[in-house]
Symmetry: C2
Subunit: 231 residues, 2 copies
């Protein structure tokens, strides 16, 4: 359970959402989005929620200085965008497709009706909401860590666990970044240059090794964990 604490990409697809999705499926409208398209903007009022069939979506915010910070990276089988349904406030951030996505949506009214007819579903939603909150709290901790190297290490370790479904600790030490490195940098709150330098540093220390455009092999997981010092 501590392992799961650090999944890099929200890995919701482990039974939590399935019942929910099954129920919602008949009402879903499907739509394809290209990279860079926005699902919503900061301040928008929510009138629907989203489910990713394939692709990647990021939730980000624009900071005072004009820079951006990515708050979540959502992958397939993720249900999101429903928070404003409950607290009745607009979206507090932007949602942008970063990789061509196949997304299902359901409008608020329909959703409310379904929930009303199936009150037990709210518990599932609560679970998802809790998971989001937990992730956000972890992110707050991580991003406040001044040392960028441990942030990078954390990120790598959590990609490793995400790939292994956060549960099985198998022997496949190959990890793959599904996003360009500037997106990853943004997610962990550093500049691309800083990320690059830290990756280089870890490579020189033979802790990781670049084996492809966006893939790395973890040579020394224990030391990587040590540096990230979360596990």
């Amino acid at each position: 359970m501590i392992i799961e604490k650090k999944c890099f990409i929200d890995n919701q697809n482990r039974g939590i959402t399935t019942d929910l999705i099954k129920l919602l499926a008949p009402y879903f409208k499907h739509h394809k989005y290209k990279a860079k398209e926005h699902l919503w903007y900061d301040g928008d009022n929510a009138n629907k929620m989203f489910f990713i069939n394939s692709g990647i979506v990021k939730i980000y915010d624009i900071l005072e200085d004009g820079n951006t910070i990515t708050i979540y990276i959502f992958e397939k089988n993720t249900l999101f965008g429903f928070m404003p349904f409950f607290d009745e406030e607009p979206y507090p951030a932007y949602a942008e497709v970063v990789k061509e996505s196949d997304i299902s949506t359901i409008d608020r009214a329909t959703f409310n009706k379904i929930i009303k007819e199936n009150p037990e579903l709210s518990l599932k939603l609560m679970k998802i909401l809790s998971k989001r909150l937990r992730d956000a709290m972890i992110k707050i901790s991580e991003n406040n860590n001044k040392d960028t190297l441990s942030r990078v290490a954390s990120m790598l370790v959590s990609i490793y666990f995400t790939h292994n479904n956060c549960y099985t600790e198998n022997q496949n030490y190959t990890i793959e970044m599904k996003l360009p490195s500037y997106e990853i940098a943004n997610y962990i709150g550093v500049t691309p240059e800083t990320l690059s330098r830290n990756i280089k540093h870890l490579s020189e220390k033979k802790i990781i090794e670049k084996i492809g455009k966006r893939s790395y092999k973890i040579l020394d997981l224990e030391q990587l964990k040590e540096i990230s010092s979360i596990y």
Copy 2:
């Protein structure tokens, strides 16, 4: 509603919790906690939830480098500690009393029973959970802002709005920090020295003025907003 976006101290006491608390009240157990006492530790399993009648509690985490980061500061009339009830994971952070508090607790089993008998309550909880998530997302944005001055300004503005209940924009420009300044510093993710220097800077620019040990007068709210550039 944008105004509310930035309440410094979670100001839950506006009707959201009242119904809930009324129902839970008969089952509450009351307890007084002194400053520095812990309600729970990171990794603890949750067996009860908490309601603050008076006092202040902070939720914080310990970072890799040994420093700490405060994630939430909860005041009276706040219900918290229930997130692990839903996602079945342990607490992801610590809860420490920072100011002598009068706290009611309710155990998990009792709570579950009440929820089961009153399913409409889960919607209220969802609302609180959403609010927490929203606050967390805002905090992620703010803490990633490299410029510490704007973080300090943000903090001051949001204390201002919190004091004014986040709704009424009255003429009382006096704000009071309810915590020692090192706690405030920790909350916004800077050192006490940096906070002090920024406060000094704002004072020199006649944007705020110290009028008491922990109280300030906002002389130029517009400029303070400008610097925080959130509103």
